[in-house]
């Protein structure tokens, strides 16, 4: 049934496209996979979120190419002095896409859509809560159910969010994809038709591009939305060519079959850099790869031992071999692209002799430990096994005998969170660009068994600052606290911070104004292409 509907809409649009084809600008993005669906709140993978993003807006959004939060569907917002309420003034005259799946909106975007979108994720009795499986991972992971006390409609263009406690990062949370605003009217339209599941497959939004058609594993098509509130996009047709193999993506770039691609093969980077037709853009990724030292397992409870391990590991070699140069040595938990990065912190130098001295001073003559490596490739760690082997060799030089260990990914994570390991590799990719989104990883809340702080380190002065920074609304005040926290974390060394990987994106020279997103997003509004 759904196929026939897609077909009907495809037929309709194809005639429209054919009519306006002459001189139309088309940009093809070689994406890496098929989306699970088109409702961002349901998804967690970059592939799915990228696929839905052209269609939608949030109340506030990340400025393209940065982590700054700027107004979007809310043209202004105000945080009350006690930090407990945020009032959003909504933009007037914002249109929803018309003609997708037979839906024609009868009204502009308003507060009802905002309430609908958040309540779907929040309230079990919402008519769409269970539709499409209803796992709203990000909403829950960002702790929204505990943060939110209420969301109210003050009038059509005003929404008031009341929080249970002051929380500065919440605005950055709302700029994330789960904060996407969908059409309450379209939802009702489909519910009346008895086809609510189509809501997540054939999306209607307020975004710069309107959904045209999707063929699983082949292509997603969008066209510029004429009535977009921010002005019509410069590209008329946006096409995602689903191309799972990285080498094939590059071959397509070379043949001019696509103009932008994500996730290049590290082995191809050198050739891409020399390719005349391409700009190889790069940026430090919003991530960190680290080795956690479990302070609950002696002798890792001793600061000196942890510092010694920091000095014993040759991270320069790891960068060269494991990251193949596509990474930046990390001295802090947050990458330098996040505000409040403390550049004054002095990195541990590679010094096996000093490490031995420190170990001796701590009374550790011989030490055997396990070291866990992840069984999967992650953005912050392209080859955990190789990294673990190199660390094993480095640590042997200072008299530490290391046994390597690994489990299936789900099991691995669970056991690390339970604190079964002595040393373990893991990492993090930032969600919203707020420092809190990184530092909670070594806070006391996560240090409990099963928590995400896998070094199980809990330092009261660090924790106090972490909690305090969340409640302040002035960015400068918060930054000061985070800078101090980085000094503590460096001195106490619960982790060996290894690297922030670099994100590369080859872009055709025909394309202008493309910006790499620190979040690893692929965004095309504002991008232009030469015909």
């Amino acid at each position: 049934m759904k196929r026939t509907i897609t077909l009907a809409s495809a037929l309709l649009v194809s005639t429209m496209l054919a009519a306006g084809a002459a001189g139309a600008k088309t940009l093809v993005y070689c994406s890496e996979g098929s989306p699970e669906n088109f409702t961002p709140a349901l998804n967690t993978t970059g592939t799915s979120l990228d696929a839905a993003r052209p269609v939608f807006n949030q109340l506030v959004e990340f400025e393209r190419g940065s982590t700054n939060v700027v107004p979007s569907l809310a043209e202004a917002y105000e945080v009350s002095p006690d930090g407990l309420t945020v009032t959003f003034k909504l933009r007037k005259g914002v249109k929803f896409h018309s003609g997708v799946n037979g839906f024609t909106p009868t009204r502009d975007f308003n507060a009802d859509d905002v309430l609908w979108s958040f309540e779907r994720q929040w309230k079990a009795d919402h008519p769409y809560n269970k539709v499409s499986g209803g796992a709203f991972d990000y909403f829950n992971d960002m702790d929204m159910p505990n943060l939110l006390k209420s969301i109210e409609k003050v009038d059509d263009l005003t929404v008031k969010m009341t929080l249970n406690e002051p929380n500065a990062p919440i605005l950055a949370n709302l700029a994330m994809d789960f904060g996407t605003i969908e059409s309450a009217e379209y939802a009702k339209f489909l519910l009346d038709k008895g086809k609510p599941e189509e809501f997540d497959q054939l999306p209607v939004g307020t975004g710069p591009y309107q959904f045209v058609a999707y063929q699983k594993d082949a292509v997603i098509r969008f066209k510029a939305f004429d009535a977009y509130w921010g002005g019509k996009a410069k590209i008329d047709n946006l096409v995602y060519a689903i191309t799972p193999d990285a080498t094939a993506r590059y071959a397509k770039m070379k043949a001019g079959e696509c103009h932008v691609m994500g996730y290049p093969n590290p082995a191809d980077l050198e050739a891409m850099g020399k390719d005349e037709g391409l700009n190889l853009m790069h940026q430090a990724g919003l991530n960190i790869g680290y080795l956690a030292l479990n302070v609950k397992k002696p002798p890792f409870d001793k600061k000196e031992v942890r510092q010694a391990i920091n000095m014993a590991i040759d991270r320069d070699s790891i960068l060269k071999e494991v990251y193949q140069g596509a990474g930046q040595k990390a001295k802090n938990l947050i990458p330098p692209t996040i505000w409040s990065y403390n550049d004054a912190v002095k990195d541990y130098e590679y010094n096996p002799d000093k490490a031995k001295e420190l170990l001796k001073a701590a009374g550790v003559e011989t030490l055997s430990s396990d070291l866990w490596w992840m069984p999967v490739q992650r953005p912050y760690n392209p080859n955990a096994k190789r990294m673990a082997e190199m660390m094993q060799a480095d640590l042997a030089k200072v008299g530490i005998t290391v046994e390597l260990k690994s489990y299936e990914w789900g099991e691995y994570r669970k056991r690390l969170q339970a604190g079964e390991h002595q040393m373990g590799l893991l990492g993090w990719t930032g969600d919203n660009g707020d420092p809190d989104n990184f530092f909670f990883l070594i806070g006391c809340t996560g240090a409990r068994e099963g928590g995400q702080n896998i070094s199980k380190w809990c330092d009261q002065s660090f924790e106090d600052k972490l909690q305090q920074a969340k409640k302040l609304s002035e960015k400068a005040d918060r930054a000061k606290l985070y800078e101090e926290m980085q000094v503590i974390a460096h001195e106490e060394a619960p982790n060996v911070t290894i690297a922030h990987s670099t994100v590369y994106e080859p872009v055709s020279k025909k394309v202008s104004d493309y910006k790499i997103s620190p979040f690893g997003r692929h965004e095309f509004y504002g991008v232009d292409i030469a015909e």
Binding site: D245, E257, L426
Partner: protein, 337 residues
């Protein structure tokens, strides 16, 4: 004939049941939970995990899950993909035409080139032609598909610019609806100028890559089977009667030599589908092979079970048809008990 068919059909039932059971159990033996495997660094709280497992019925004892699954199948319900929440059958049917189109083209390519090549090699046994042909066939047979595909892309598409790199249609130039799912047909239906040629161009490389192994197998099989038949008395008689060589080889020998070749063709349907997994990935071909591989990575139990079951039933049916064609080629088999 009817009894033969009936007996063969009856034999497929236990095959099918065993397959269902083995697939179901094997997927569950692979470590990794479909919910947990999708989570990032954050993981999932035990409460939430239990809740989601309950929703998907994964908290039921395994025999109960199996019984429910078989019950669903008996009612034509293949279940719903854990990832996309779409019905498995619908996903399969959306993707299957692409696989069929590619496999049929590859098989035709293999048969059209493989049989004549084998016949010629056999009729000039030991000659330069025979030796080089069989050398090539061996190379083709041992060619790693992934590597072969990438080499062809780099050479034919990137360097020579003769064919497109991947996909099924030029996305910038053409946009026509998918009516049948077969691009060769849809492009004709679209009425757009050049669309059919474009679809053909997109098929060339994947057809060659997927067809290479069966081509090699068919060529070698034809050759050895021909050699055997050419030794037979009736061939010698035909020759002695003074029949033209093409009649001896083409009619008297080839028809008899084809029986094992047809078996091989039938069996290669299975290996074609296996090869399709890699070929589809390299050429961004939206078929079931790629879909199955992704389902393994994601532990999408229903999609995997359904997909494997559907593909296997197709292989079973094709092999049944192959057995029936023996009868056409060689009437003696028809009468055998």
């Amino acid at each position: 004939m009817f009894r033969f068919l009936l007996r063969r059909l009856a034999l497929t039932v236990p095959t099918f049941l065993a397959l269902m059971f083995v697939t179901f159990m094997m997927i569950r033996m692979v470590p990794g939970d479909p919910i947990e495997v999708r989570r990032g660094e954050r993981g999932i709280s035990p409460e939430r995990l239990a809740e989601l497992r309950h929703e998907m019925g994964l908290d039921q004892p395994i025999w109960k899950q199996f019984v429910d699954y078989v019950w669903g199948l008996a009612h034509g319900d293949f279940g719903v993909s854990i990832i996309t929440k779409n019905p498995v059958l619908q996903e399969f049917l959306t993707l299957f035409p692409a696989t069929v189109e590619l496999s049929v083209c590859a098989l035709l390519f293999a048969v059209i080139i493989g049989i004549p090549a084998g016949v010629i090699a056999a009729s000039r046994r030991g000659g330069v032609y025979d030796q080089s042909l069989m050398g090539l066939a061996l190379t083709g047979y041992s060619m790693p598909i992934f590597w072969w595909g990438l080499i062809l892309i780099l050479l034919v598409s990137n360097t020579l610019g003769w064919t497109p790199v991947s996909g099924r249609v030029d996305l910038i130039k053409y946009y026509y609806p998918s009516v049948t799912g077969f691009m060769l047909i849809d492009s004709l239906l679209s009425g757009e100028k050049g669309a059919f040629a474009d679809a053909v161009r997109h098929l060339i490389l994947p057809t060659i890559v997927l067809g290479t192994v069966p081509l090699a197998v068919i060529a070698r099989m034809t050759r050895s089977s021909m050699l055997e038949v050419l030794e037979e008395d009736y061939v010698r008689t035909a020759r002695a009667k003074g029949l033209a060589p093409y009649r001896v080889i083409g009619i008297h020998a080839l028809r008899n030599a084809l029986i094992p070749v047809v078996t091989v063709i039938g069996l290669s349907v299975g290996s074609l589908l296996a090869g399709a997994v890699l070929t589809e990935t390299i050429f961004s071909w939206p078929g079931v092979g790629k879909w199955l591989i992704e389902s393994i990575g994601r532990r999408d139990y229903p999609a995997l079970q359904g997909g494997i079951l559907l593909i296997s039933s197709i292989v079973i049916v094709v092999n049944l048809l192959v057995d029936l064609t023996y009868g056409l080629i060689n009437p003696r088999i028809r009468h055998a008990r």
